[in-house]
Symmetry: C2
Amino acid sequence: MIARKSRVLVTGSSGLIGGVVTRILGDKYALSGLDRVPADPAADIPITRADVGNFDAIRPAFDGMDAVVHLAADAGMDAPWESVLPNNIVATYNVFEAARQARVKRLVFASSNHAVGMFELDEPYVRIRQGNYRGLDPATFPRVDNTVCIRPDGLYGVSKAFGEALGAYYAEQFGLSVVCLRIGTVTRDDNPTREVRQMATWLSHRDLGHLVDCCLSAKGVRFEIVYGVSNNRWRFWDITHARRVFGYAPRDNAETHRTGE
Amino acid sequence: MIARKSRVLVTGSSGLIGGVVTRILGDKYALSGLDRVPADPAADIPITRADVGNFDAIRPAFDGMDAVVHLAADAGMDAPWESVLPNNIVATYNVFEAARQARVKRLVFASSNHAVGMFELDEPYVRIRQGNYRGLDPATFPRVDNTVCIRPDGLYGVSKAFGEALGAYYAEQFGLSVVCLRIGTVTRDDNPTREVRQMATWLSHRDLGHLVDCCLSAKGVRFEIVYGVSNNRWRFWDITHARRVFGYAPRDNAETHRTGE
């Protein structure tokens, strides 16, 4: 007997992260996509063309799904309220509610480090983001983890904090299994050298795919918040929680990637 | 020389809590109100009749204000999304943004214990809310404080968590001084005997007025979250943080109020 593949709906499947996820996980899961715009022709998955801001238009796509990966959003960290409200707040409510109605079991929500971005104004992160590592020991400086208070650095980050709060509610009230991924910096060319902050914040494509896989396949999850970041020497963010809860085992490190090691 | 009174705009001034606040603080502050509906005729303050969901309609009322107390909301803890979205989410953004544009110095946001309401499913709170105090020592059981994670018990609570996240952003990004009050149970007749949970959650009118006064007059506040609850023997929530930061000194206790002591 061959176990059937889990059916997973990916919202924002035509975006940068959606493209990485569908490419890496397309063999293991039965993926379908949901997006306003068409995907790269290379992405060989069925796509519902609809706006996540329109509940009635997206609702049918959730029927029969085992899990949802909700990536659709205005991903601009400086996005104005006029875009954040429909694309990140209303859309995220629509996705959680559609998942509940369709009895989806797990929802992986693309949150963001920007929900807690103001920590980067504090020591030692303020220096690390500028590449000033003097006197810092990566083995010992404290990292921002899943228990810190909410400190958004923009309306985008506020919308992600909203999504996490909504996720906590849907998990506790309705039994939907929810994972909030505070995703770091994913680049189109999978290269962390564009700015020095990425030495801390980079998430490689293969670590991203592996992490989403971990989040989809883990058992017994009610509600978790984890950071999506590669095993960068200078990362601000904790990955021990993701390792413990999901078995996340990143293979990349911005520093060694840069030097070609 | 007589110091001029601080000018304070109270949104939702015609509501239950708005009425208590304007009655108790009307002498100390130069209050004005903002509400869709007229106030009790006894409330002798100027009122702008407008919907906080309409930014352009409310914006002028913020000019010249030193502080804002933002109470306007759908206060139903079971409010549906169709009401929470305009009345609690859009409206709260409008109020923060109008305050920023008008260079208001402090904003007191009526958050709610429902932002963390799911803690009431945990021991010992689940028993306390039912009046089962057996084996519990009020001097030692742990209380839910300002550092706990967000656990909303409804979309209403989610909207309050959104407002807190927005407040943190406006505080850190724009220097607006923000206090989030997680208000307990305020009753029209100022009586805590309606249900046994109120032995834990009651906030008397005079303690409410005193706490809002504390929040308006404290110096050097960037961003704080505090609980609004009287000094009830069986309160779930911490008041030591409000006492330390704002000098909050509640005079009422649901238990002794009930027994007429």
